[in-house]
């Protein structure tokens, strides 16, 4: 209140008011500070970890605490702390590594997998983790009926294993899963109906992690009521998730935060912090500011524009190896775009280098094909289309399209790891296209449902921005998802490509898949259904106190390694 003037009439009162305000403000600040000190001080007394509270900001609440019913990253972020799968990942890569299974063998025909399980592991409710528990989990997924089979609830199981014991809708096929046998306490055998080269890698997905059969039965974890659009999650999924991981579920204050405590009986490296709080802050700017003011210790999806400033202020930036792809989609349902010369012109018009330096995180490299270079089947020798405006104009003239106008659909109100700022990306690309003589008609749409509906559900779009973050190291998880069948997104029907993808998917081992997918990548880049732009580097930011965070390209980040210094 600087404009409280001391007047001659009532000087005493005014001064008093100002003094009171100042005192109040001072009290507020000092208390806020001492509060923080108290907390970090008291942290040491509680348990072995002695490491205080780690507060991480998420962009939304988890959708459920049972990862087998989920498909979103914020749910998996929480469940990765509580649950573990048979298979994990090699730190810092997307490659599979032993976790709850110490080793495994595959039959020559790729139909039988035998897992040797880690011994002496228990779920946090005391249930032993053994072959029976493994089979109980596989049978649980396989036996789902009714709405539990819907894409909304069993997205990953559906798309990976293709079907259930009793298929409830026409989109489902013969299930890949056949049976699970507990050969011994520490040995389980899974039989498949058809080869599935990505099986082991897929088992690292949080949706397929191991959960306590006892706890699921006790808290009625399989009783999901309601309808497809209106699922009512069970008590298990909202309050009693039970796994083998380094943290235990403590509480979930909806819309506010999820609290986890260390698992004192964890078989591996025990958590160093006393408590983990995953707080929901939906706005990206608010997340950054919460870190800057010390309200939180870390957050994900740092905007490219914020990286330099945060580093300058002494915050730590952790970068994940990019395991994603951002592309410009070209829809061949638009007649002009069926001409390969027009698509080539678009590719030559784009300056991916400038796009990467202008709008994407520092260090991001332009992409040459629709998979990042860490994925199996990446080809060094695909056709490339260097930035060349003259060539682009010439190709357009040859195609009889010297003044082409295209709808460019792009999403708003969204930030994905592969697309940190769609508006900026759109703006740069449309400016580059304009230089080559292509007029762009901007069509911004809300991410869901409008944007995805328009791009994936209708043929009504010219150019669009989309991408993908891989779930595990499998090329089918990229190009198979994009080009596996005729779709509204691309608007072309190409039996040659679809057949090649189908065949490559059915190969029994990844060794056999490498040449097949390299050929597919060359084929795709010759046909040029779209232009792969870059694999943006996703960043996390942490306060200076945090150490031991291990970023993973597939976000397989478990927080038992984290410690807080100076607390």
């Amino acid at each position: 209140m600087p404009w409280f003037p001391p007047t001659e009439r009532r000087p005493v009162r005014t001064v008093l008011t100002a003094a009171a305000l100042t005192a109040l403000l001072a009290a507020t600040t000092s208390c806020a500070e001492s509060q923080r000190d108290d907390d970090s001080g008291s942290g040491g007394s509680s348990s072995a970890g002695g490491g205080g509270t780690f507060v991480f900001a998420a962009s939304s609440d988890p959708s459920s605490l049972d990862p087998s019913f989920a498909s979103d990253g914020e749910t998996f972020r929480v469940s990765r702390q509580i649950f573990e799968g048979l298979v994990g990942t090699v730190p810092g890569t997307a490659d599979p590594a032993p976790l709850l299974a110490e080793s495994w063998t595959t039959s020559a025909d790729g139909l039988t997998y035998t897992f040797t399980l880690r011994e002496g592991v228990e779920f946090s409710d005391g249930t032993p983790f053994d072959a029976e528990a493994v089979c109980a989990n596989f049978e649980r997924w396989y036996n789902r009926t009714g709405i539990q089979q819907s894409e909304n609830l069993s997205y990953y199981y559906r798309s990976l294993f293709r079907g259930f014991k009793e298929n409830g809708d026409a989109d489902l096929q013969t299930p890949l899963y056949k049976s699970c046998t507990a050969d011994a306490a520490n040995q389980a055998t899974i039989a498949l109906n058809a080869p599935f080269a990505g099986f082991i890698a897929a088992l690292s997905l949080p949706a397929l992690s191991m959960q306590s059969p006892t706890a699921i039965a006790e808290h009625r974890g399989d009783e999901v009521g309601g309808t497809d659009s209106d699922p009512r999650f069970s008590e298990y999924a909202s309050a009693h998730p039970t796994g083998t991981g380094p943290f235990l579920f403590d509480s979930w204050d909806r819309g506010q935060q999820v609290v986890l405590k260390p698992n004192p009986n964890y078989w591996g490296e025990k958590a160093k912090v006393d408590e983990v709080v995953i707080r929901t802050i939906s706005d990206g700017t608010a997340r950054r500011q919460a870190l800057q003011s010390g309200d939180i210790d870390g957050y994900d999806l740092v905007a490219p524009a914020d990286v330099a400033g945060l580093e300058a202020d002494g915050f730590q930036i952790e970068q994940r190896k990019p395991f994603n792809i951002l592309y410009l989609g070209i829809n061949q349902a638009v007649p002009a775009l069926q001409d390969i010369r027009v698509r080539q012109a678009i590719a030559h018009a784009l300056d991916k280098e400038a796009l990467a330096t202008g709008t994407l995180p520092e260090g991001t490299e332009p992409a040459t094909q629709f998979i990042p270079d860490t994925v199996v089947g990446y080809a060094e020798d695909v056709p490339t289309y260097p930035h060349d405006v003259a060539r682009a104009r010439q190709l357009l003239a040859e195609a009889g399209q010297p003044d082409l106008t295209l709808d460019f659909v792009y999403p708003t109100g969204v930030s994905r790891p592969y697309m940190p700022n769609p508006e900026d990306t759109f703006k740069v690309l449309s400016t580059q296209l304009a230089e080559a003589g292509i007029t762009v008609n901007p069509v911004p749409l809300k991410w869901t449902p409008d944007y995805l509906d328009r791009v994936q559900g209708t043929p009504d779009h010219g150019l669009h921005l989309l991408g993908w973050t891989g779930d595990y190291n499998d090329p089918d998880n990229f190009v198979g998802v994009f080009f596996g069948k005729k779709s509204n997104e691309w608007g072309f029907d190409d039996p040659e490509l679809f057949g090649a993808l189908d065949q490559a998917r059915g190969l029994p081992t990844q060794e056999a898949q490498v040449p097949a997918y390299q050929a597919i990548n060359r084929q795709i880049m010759t046909k040029l259904p779209g232009v792969p732009l870059a694999s943006p580097i996703p960043s996390l930011a942490f306060s200076a106190e945090v150490s031991g965070y291990e970023p993973s390209p597939v976000q397989d980040e478990v927080w038992n390694t984290i410690s807080l210094q100076g607390s």
Partner: protein, 303 residues
């Protein structure tokens, strides 16, 4: 017509003629510093908006210098760019000048839409009365029960994203306010001597309402319209913040520029402060002018 006017003036007794009243209002306005400040701001705003292409050194929203933008840095003021660039690589000064044009168009059109639709409802309610009044006012109550911003959001969701949808959305939120205002003013005039006199002369209700009561109610409507112009400039920004503004992100529109610049508030505060100040000053101008008009037209509030 002149005969009736004379009768009315006579019937109204001490009420001054409209010309005399206008002079009095003008006199009061002239002596009000707030009115002057408001008028200066509003005039400057309108001039800038109309002459935007003459004032601005470059073409707006072209992102000509997008190559100079990096995630971490937006070039500041230089010899070529008075205020530097915006984060889409257009000249910031040019964007601000053309933003005035956008604000003027959106503000005026949405206010006119709200004024026309609201007045039509108010005229129905206050002019006809009875059942019609009750029915119309229930509709107005329903509209009033939804906070203006949410009403605007609902409209924008139906109409889609465009400058037009912003105008319709803002106008929709103003409809109930204009309707109530006009109705109240018509009701207040009902018992006035001159209305009774006209009725005793055998004039039809419609002529009394449209020919005499409505012109007398224009003052408050004008005041409200001026104030709504201020609100409109701010609401455009709020709608942009909610992601319901214009289609092209680089378009020269203050609300969008402000929202975009929030991301870089700490690193490049200028980018946010300029459009923020433009919105605040323009809104201030219309508010001052509106308040001054209100006071000038309503002698009771003269102080």
């Amino acid at each position: 017509m002149s005969a009736t006017s004379a009768v009315v003036a006579e019937a109204a007794g001490s009420a001054p003629t409209s010309a005399a009243r206008g002079r009095a209002v003008w006199e009061r306005l002239r002596r009000d510093p707030g009115a002057w400040a408001g008028a200066v701001i509003v005039t400057a705003f309108v001039v800038v908006a109309l002459a935007a292409p003459l004032i601005a050194p470059y073409e707006p929203a072209r992102s000509q210098w997008i190559g100079q933008i990096t995630p971490a840095h937006v070039p500041g003021p230089s010899a070529d760019h008075l205020l530097g660039l915006d984060s889409f690589g257009s000249d910031l000064f040019t964007q601000l000048v053309h933003g005035a044009r956008q604000s003027l168009v959106i503000g005026v059109v949405s206010t006119l839409l709200g004024l026309l639709a609201g007045s039509a409802l108010g005229l129905l309610a206050g002019g006809i009365g009875g059942r019609v009044d009750t029915a119309v006012m229930r509709v107005v109550d329903v509209l009033l029960s939804v906070p203006a911003l949410l009403l605007a959001v609902s409209v924008a969701a139906v109409v889609g994203r465009s400058a037009l949808s912003v105008m319709v959305a803002i106008a929709a939120a103003q409809v109930p306010i204009f309707a109530r205002l006009l109705r109240a003013s018509l009701l207040a005039q009902r018992g006035r001597d001159y209305v009774v006199a006209l009725r005793s002369l055998g004039l039809r209700q419609r002529r009394i309402v449209v020919g005499h009561m409505l012109p007398n109610a224009l003052g408050p409507l004008l005041v409200q319209a001026t104030l709504v112009l201020a609100t409109a400039v701010i609401e455009v920004a709020a709608l942009s913040y909610l992601g319901l503004g214009q289609a092209d992100p680089a378009v020269a529109e203050w609300g969008r520029m402000l929202v975009k610049a929030q991301e870089r508030l700490e690193a490049e505060p200028d980018l946010a402060l300029w459009p923020g100040a433009c919105i605040a000053v323009t809104a201030l101008g219309f508010t001052l002018l509106g308040e001054a008009l209100r006071q000038a037209l309503d002698p009771r509030a003269r102080r």
